[in-house]
């Protein structure tokens, strides 16, 4: 049996003219398949909305409180595990150094002091070299370089901010 266009009318919820309604009713009298579709459509339209048992909101608050407590507990445990593992890793790495210090403290102290002094001298030398360079470089750089450099810096900053904004745009749905 040809169900066109009756099936389409029913599935698309088409608004029918009086003539189309009569045609459809005549078809439904002889077509069990389309009549079943009508029945289902009717039952679906008449279906009632079921409400939850009373006290739904109160039960939600109980669940929310329990979840918050569990979350807090997880955070405390997470922090403890992080601290313990951090301290353990640091101790593991520092152990050889600690052994040296414990075995001969004076020798370790003098080594560190000489190391700190050499670092201090090295930093002083770098500082002096930098000061000389800063005095010399401006004589070689043309004056228009500085505004250009400032513009380039602003442009890069804007591009960076824009890309961060695009990537951080909040997606919908969970």
């Amino acid at each position: 049996m040809n169900h066109r266009p009756f099936e389409d009318w029913m599935l698309d919820d088409t608004d029918l003219t009086p003539e189309q309604k009569l045609e459809l009713q005549a078809h439904l009298r002889v077509c069990a398949q389309c009549a079943a579709l009508t029945d289902v459509n009717l039952v679906l339209r008449e279906a009632r909305v079921i409400s939850p048992a009373a006290g739904f909101t109160a039960r939600f608050h109980v669940r929310l409180t329990a979840q918050r407590q569990a979350q807090r507990k997880r955070m405390v445990w997470g922090f403890l595990i992080l601290v313990i593992s951090g301290v353990s890793i640091l101790s593991w790495f520092a152990w050889p150094l600690l052994r040296v210090v414990l075995d001969s403290p004076v020798e370790a102290l003098s080594t560190w002091l000489s190391y700190l002094l050499s670092l201090w001298f090295w930093l002083q030398a770098v500082g002096e070299a930098g000061a000389v360079l800063l005095r010399v470089i401006p004589t070689f750089v043309p004056p228009y370089f500085w505004p250009l450099a400032a513009l380039a810096f602003i442009g890069w900053s804007l591009l960076w901010a824009l890309s961060i904004w695009r990537f951080a745009k909040i997606p919908q749905g969970v």
Binding site: W9, M10, L11, L16, K21, L24, Q25, L28, R29, A32, Q33, A35, A36, L37, T38, D39, V40, N41, L42, V43, L44, R45, E46, A47, R48, V49, I50, S51, P52, A53, F56, T57, R59, F60, H61, R63, L64, Q67, I170, P171, Q172, G173, V174
Partner: protein
Amino acid sequence: MNDEMAWIVQAQRGSDEAFTVLVEAYQTPVYNLCYRMLGEPEAAEDAAQETFLKVYQNLARYDRERSFATWLLSIAAHYCIDRLRRRRFVSFSIDEDEDTPLELPDRSAPDPETETERRQEQAHLHQLLQSLDPTDRAALVLRYWNDCSEIEIAQALTLTVPAVKSRLHRARRALAKVWEEETPSAHTERMPHESPAF
């Protein structure tokens, strides 16, 4: 800004009282969706509660340009679909039992016999719904119980509008097929009073 949006904004700022108002307002549509999807009152209660918890946790991510109801129902529908997929190997009975929420008799119904017949049909429909693919079922529930448009269903289920249309057609055809097989006498009995739907 309407009342609902004002509550949403307050809830986003951390007001539990405002969120409670939203739960009160949407508990029935969310519960009904979960019940029609999962077929059991306990599972529906659990799913509805979990939906509101997810909404509470993700409220900051809600885009105020979108409909809140669609966003909420989308979370509920996805949760139920996931749950159905996880338990696809576990069969369950959806026969009405003592725990099933009661659909109270309609006092405005013309006579008790018609009302009983209607309730039987509803129970039968509820049973038939469980035979559908979870996404098709969600589309059907959103269409008929939540009066969502095809565009809203598409947004809620992350589908295209033609896909929603096709799923709705397929679901109704499948229901009609089983309906025809299981209630062969329904056609001849129903015909005298024609469907008000057309």
